[in-house]
Symmetry: T
Subunit: 143 residues, 12 copies
């Protein structure tokens, strides 16, 4: 089973300076936790981050016939990328949308998601563990 | 560790007639899966369903000093119960909001949640497994 | 044939003091007229009033397998009870929504109905006779 | 007692081709049922259909002193004819608005009615029987 | 003179743990101050709190012929209970709406009140003293 | 100088029954006053009323090369006839919009006028005298 | 008969530099025309301009018992002065609102008038002659 | 193959005076171009213009069983005729909506079309050639 | 203790003609009651009314270092004076907003208050006694 | 004559799997039809697809002095790319916007187009033939 | 070259008590910095502050023929003074709008500016230095 | 001191053809003026333009630890790039937003800025000189 993990714009900046202090909070740490969880579940993951909407679409197109599920944190694209919405509806594999923070507590313009209606489901506000739960669900719900 | 699992109005009707056929889809089956997961994680759960907003509030008040976390599927109350919002903000333990279906794909009046900003986070659209992921998160994030 | 007649919050106060003077306008009088109409049509009716949204839901759940149609005047719940909406969609029998007054002539917040899209149809502004027409329709449209 | 039954634009197309199969569903059948019900109730009816808003107004003006009640299915004019609204408020006899379908389940632009606040009441979603209930109410409520 | 004091959902949690420290800020303290004020004004009060909208309505119905005025803090129900609106308009005695905090400074969904147009007047943002001013007004304005 | 005076839907019903009593208030009386005013100002008027939007357009098209100004009371069409808007912009002569009542005091749906931006100006709320002022302006402003 | 003519903020700048060229278009010219019209109609006028909302209110208060009608061009205050609205409703004499330009053709924020619902009627888009028509109406409609 | 070409209100005024100068821009010229195109494509066309919404509906009803496609420029009716919407959905043949100008560049009230969702497709802003492209599409897409 | 009592535009007109009849309802009577209440509470009051927003601001600036609390009835300025909002936030003493009538029952444009979020609290709909309760609160809450 | 044909995000996925069955419906087939039509009309076309908004802008900038017209199907960018709007307004050649489907029948967020007001015109809902009609128009309207 | 610097309501309170401590932050300090900058640029400035909208208008009228540019910080009037908007459009010299704080980060009612569309440009969020940049621009852009 | 100057999509097209005539108005000229100003202020600037939202984000990420301030003209991205909003909030240096034109006078969709709340301040409508004032402010406010 192959799973694609996509990170949208600016997510690479996450926890950039506060590393050692706060433990598992840098972007690299999150990715390490994802890879560990994947190993434990016995699945293959490809992790990809881009600040370009188009590059995220290209990656999804490229993997269209070679992927069993996707975990995506679209970052700010969540709120205006209708192209991502269209793409997630066009690919044949299920997607779980993940947000690190509880978007319902943030600015009103973050309350609309164009990704949610195109995804199977959403996990928000549960921090980096949200990615691991999403992976686990993709594996368990396919069994 | 003690966890309260709350089901809001009409959730007891879930999968009422289609039991045997579709496997784990009746309300009783969901509750059995929750109890099993709790046993596996080594935590105590109390499961409570009510069609009365007030009864859900009463239950939360009753357990205010004797609970370590809450998993709630508020059903239709999600969209208008400001009293539930106030209550979840008043209790000292964390709450995870769970929805069986992907509410972003349903009627517009279901796109507003008064529970999300009062909860730690939200899991939506991942079916009955959403409850299990919420339980797991409450346990693991407290370690 | 068994029909459930539900009255929502405050409807029991209807015509409370003006009885003898105006003829058939107290709550008791309306219920007597409904029972008479039921006898004439040869159907059984159960009449139930509650100020508790949850109690109306409980009643519908209790009769879910033992009812052929419902006449409901949801009172103020019309305008905010998404739980009633969900419940009426979940029960297997048809419902007719009745309003004593012409809601289109009242405050703007009464122009939205969460019950209408979940009911078969609506009768509004025709006074207590609206209940009788609703009963008649449930009987005649099933023949 | 004389009753005017008005059908607005396109209603003459109703059930145009599916006649024999579905029984009482063509426009002609509906009118026959209305006439039968009128005979049974001992009242006179005039039935008039037009695709012209102005022609419906002309008919109401013409009958202004010679009519005891009106049943109107304004079709699409429901949602934008303020002229019909004004006319129904100007005539001295009561009107019942009828819709064959449950407009609350249709497109949002059909949720606004300019006719409802000018009518005594509304019957929606109960099919062709809605006309018969409206006739019956006009007769019984005047007794 | 008899006055009904109603507290809506979650108000019983007010100041629950901070008692001794902050002086007159627990729910019990507020009620004691109300009773004292009532004694001083020479009126009888009944104080009632419920998390159930329906129970508040039942209480108002029960006292409909035996009450001279009502002080209500509807809590979260303020913002969505049209049933409370209807009930306050149906009872024959005057009501004063009280809010502990200044709702105009809080979330936008708290800016709409369904209770205000059904009450005589409103006192907001003046803390627990707001209840005492309301009591005083009910007594003085009836003299 | 030739002036066209147009009355929209339902205006013919104005003052229909209260003639003799209230003096100059029936539709016929208004038209007589207009004709008198025209004679006094030394201009020719054609007065035309219709309940049909199309008939009002036809009349304006017919007079397109043979008219020096128009006074129009579009009645309910004011609020939705974009066709009238387009037509008044297409004809080469100036138009004054007249309303008998003060539309700003009526229902919100009467606050939007599609005729105002296509007219030279508007006179509202000044009763039947509004027509006479409009006529006078058309004459005086062309001198 | 005494009539008050009020000009709101900035109206004194009208036609300030283009005088001799365009004839009757400066502010002084408009006032001369108003005075001439008043003489012709046999009424007294007081003309007052201010850039201060408060000064316009003070003037209306001062003349409250000594005025038979008012013509007001509130300028920009039209669109936000609720105080002017309240004042015009409080004074016992009728007011006609005049606008030189056709406000319906201007920016959207000029489409709302707080003065219109407090005035008897409105004349807009008819230039300086609008003031004369307003005067004439005040005189003729009182006869 | 038979095609109905409908022109809505005021379209007959198009290019009324500027004929000879601008070449193919009068209403007659457009119709000539349509007829020529029809001949070239080997199809029959009936061209019909009316200022009456009802007359356009009557024409569509009349041709309901005798037409293979429709090209309609609904003029101002585009923006409010729900009756036209209903009629185009009721007829069995495909319709192409044509607008001479680019409505997206015009007033906001022209941005809503009730005809678009009832038509197969729309051609806007391409001038009189839009009609010819619509004809061509109706013919070619049926082959 | 020194308290500033401010009355906004038009409040001086209150009860202007109906004095003797209705008892304490003229502006002078209200001010007398305020002064009496102040004497009874042992505080000094300065009462100031103006129709000029700027004059109210000037007064607040003037008293900025010499005032312990303010009672303000901003009249119509409530609904649009952002300058008053800014000023009340800038002064160091607490303010109570008072409205004679229940604004929630009046026109929608009166439902927005720019003063409420800048005040400590609000008393509305309790008539002239509202001023007295506000004074009492300022005194008692400072003890 | 040189024409640029631009396809926006995800359009390359069109008809990806259903090729052989439905005939001319893959992305490659559409491009072949465009090239054929170009040959027939005697014009040169460059076809370019990208998932990157910036790449579409770069292409338009690159061809700014070397292009006679553009046909664009902006895909999802239609609904949010103000940059595309600005670019199409900045280039000196005309553009026709094409949509394969009838966007007016799809989700509300697809009803707003930032491209339409910057294009000459729009063709929507006419499938792949829409591209051919757009090409034809660009050629014929320049003759 | 003469420049008018206008400060709207409440700006005189700026930094009122924190003078010596924070350096250049009192109102007097800001004005001194403006005067210094003016000397350095070789221009004359008149600085004027008022809490009265009308007084700001009067000042602009008074200087209409004797001013080469204006710098205005309209304070709260920014958001509702349509009279200021009209006045700035009527005067012949250019205006730069200045705000000390970043209004885009403040309450939503501060996001609308009636001054911006009437000014040449806007400088916001750059503190007291914004006035100096505005002066510099007025001088340099006229050279 | 190092300053990053960013130009968003299409800004490279600015003044592309009108060079010699209008003096300093091409994109190259603006950049030359910025570099000259930087030299005069003794700071280093890097100027970067891109049509790709992602490329602007990449540049900001790259300079995150090596930059003391940013001047950005986000072009069309201003109005929809929530990703730019997030990025500007994530970088540790201050940003000044610059717009060449007065956006408040342009289309409504340009009135919303996602960049303003993430920037220190905004300068709009002051042409190319706005960049120079922004540079100056970044330098002077840091001293």
């Amino acid at each position: 089973m192959k799973i694609l993990v996509l990170h949208g714009p600016n997510l690479n900046l996450f926890g950039r300076r506060e590393t050692a202090i706060y433990g598992l909070t840098t972007f690299a740490d999150i990715n390490r936790a994802i890879e560990e969880q994947a190993r434990e579940l016995g699945v293959e993951v490809e992790i990809f981050q881009s600040n370009h909407e188009g590059a995220l679409l290209d990656k999804l197109h490229e993997r269209i016939d070679d992927c069993d599920g996707c975990v995506i944190n679209p970052g700010a694209l969540t709120h205006y990328s209708i192209a991502l919405h269209d793409c997630l509806k066009a690919v044949p594999f299920p997607t779980v949308e993940v947000h690190l923070s509880n978007v319902a507590r943030r600015e009103p313009f973050r309350h609309q998601s164009f990704v949610s209606p195109a995804a199977e489901g959403t996990i928000a506000g549960l921090g980096w563990r949200g990615y691991l739960l999403a992976l686990r669900w993709l594996v368990e719900s396919r069994q």
